[in-house]
Amino acid sequence: MKTELFVRLKVVDTTALTALTAIQEMGFTDCVEVKRDVYYAFESDVDISKSLLGVDVLVNANKHAARFSADVTGVGVLVTDADDDCSALLHTLTERLGISSITHVSRGVLWTLRFKEGVDSTLIAEKIARGLLSNEHYQKFVILG
């Protein structure tokens, strides 16, 4: 079964704020808010939700909020590294932290962009994804929402 985990900072996310500033300085002034989640997807035979939240490697409850579904109020841009096999993370989770049922891990960053009303937000989000949020030479992106 597939388990998706979305991890967002509870405190101010300066990376998201910097991204918003850069987006607006690039001329995309219809973009008014950027949120950022670290995204993980796990394959396993059993439900590992509780186990994932129980290890501090992925989520520190003092500063992170974790969900098992995306909170995309706007347009989501999921960026992943094309050649990131997550082998070190998989090893840590299965061998050191005992979540041995995990067979595969992938990860990325989910950017959620909110726009002014009345604009073609998906089209603008795609331009932002190509121009800033991803580098096509080693990353991929998909538009969500």
């Binding site: 300066t14 990376t15 910097t18 991204a19 850069a22 300085e25 690039m26 590294d81 050649d83 990131d84 070190a88 800033l132 949020l133 580098n135 096509e136 030479h137 080693y138 990353q139």
Partner: protein
């Protein structure tokens, strides 16, 4: 006068300025948002560090700054521009290197069997091009330090590397101590395509390199014992070459 451009998060500006000065150039550190005197400089160095904390990915935020748009004009005017480590990442993200006016490459996360993320070590690199550039008057093989987490030159353009090779734009490649081009880790410390350590534009006045020549500019910085630590190290040749280019142009 050389401008050593300091972005928020740069951390090698002082030693880079010192290397420029040891090579006989006057240099000053210029903040990224001080554009008042930019046109008055004869060359530019973008030093290492973590501009904007590597937010989103290394170098990309700085590459959108006004000062980098200005650098594109200075590059077109033939002024020498050297990007070291994070400066290299900025130049690549800005499309100043390889220099066809668009994003043609990435400096991606290292592929390294020892560690994921940041890695620092002494490596060797060699000059692998006969193209006359602003930075070519260097030793054929030099020991030089690297320190980065994202230093792997990659491209999804299947014809680009061959074109760069043909144009002589792959100025530096990682190699072993004997000068044979690296085929694997640790000689190639980050999995860079073609063992690329530094790429220049076609005109040869813009160089993006991941190793740190300013950390190999004095013999006292080099591994081992040295009779005179103040003697020039191999990395200084790159700055001296830059000075020669400025003097001749």
């Amino acid at each position: 006068m050389i401008a050593v451009l300091m972005f928020p998060g740069s951390n090698c500006e002082n030693e880079t300025k010192l290397a420029c000065e040891k090579a006989g150039m006057k240099a000053e550190i210029v903040r990224w948002n001080d554009v008042s005197k930019l046109g008055s400089y004869s060359g530019y160095v973008l030093p290492g560090g973590w501009s904007y904390e590597d937010r989103i990915r290394a170098g990309v935020i700085a590459s959108k700054d006004t000062v980098v748009a200005f650098l594109k004009k200075e590059a077109a005017a033939g002024k020498p521009i050297l990007g070291i480590c994070n400066g290299c990442q900025i130049l690549v993200e800005a499309g100043l290197v390889p220099g066809n006016g668009k994003l043609e490459m990435a400096v991606a996360r290292n592929e390294n069997p020892l560690v994921s993320g940041y890695y620092c070590s002494w490596v060797h690199m060699k000059k692998t091009s006969s193209l006359k550039t602003a930075f070519s008057a260097v030793d054929d093989v030099m020991a030089i330090p690297i320190a980065h987490g994202e230093g792997r030159f990659v491209t999804n353009d299947t014809e680009l590397l061959a074109a760069l090779e043909e144009n002589g734009q792959i100025l530096f490649r990682y190699c072993d101590a004997g000068g044979d081009v690296a085929t694997s880790f640790p000689d190639n410390p980050n999995g860079s395509s073609g063992a690329i350590a530094g790429i220049c534009n076609k005109e040869g006045n813009v160089l993006a390199m991941m190793p740190h020549p300013e950390r190999a500019a004095w013999m006292r910085q080099m591994p081992g014992e040295h009779a005179d630590g103040e003697e020039a190290g191999p990395g200084l040749r790159i700055f001296e070459s830059m000075k020669r280019y400025i003097d001749e142009n």
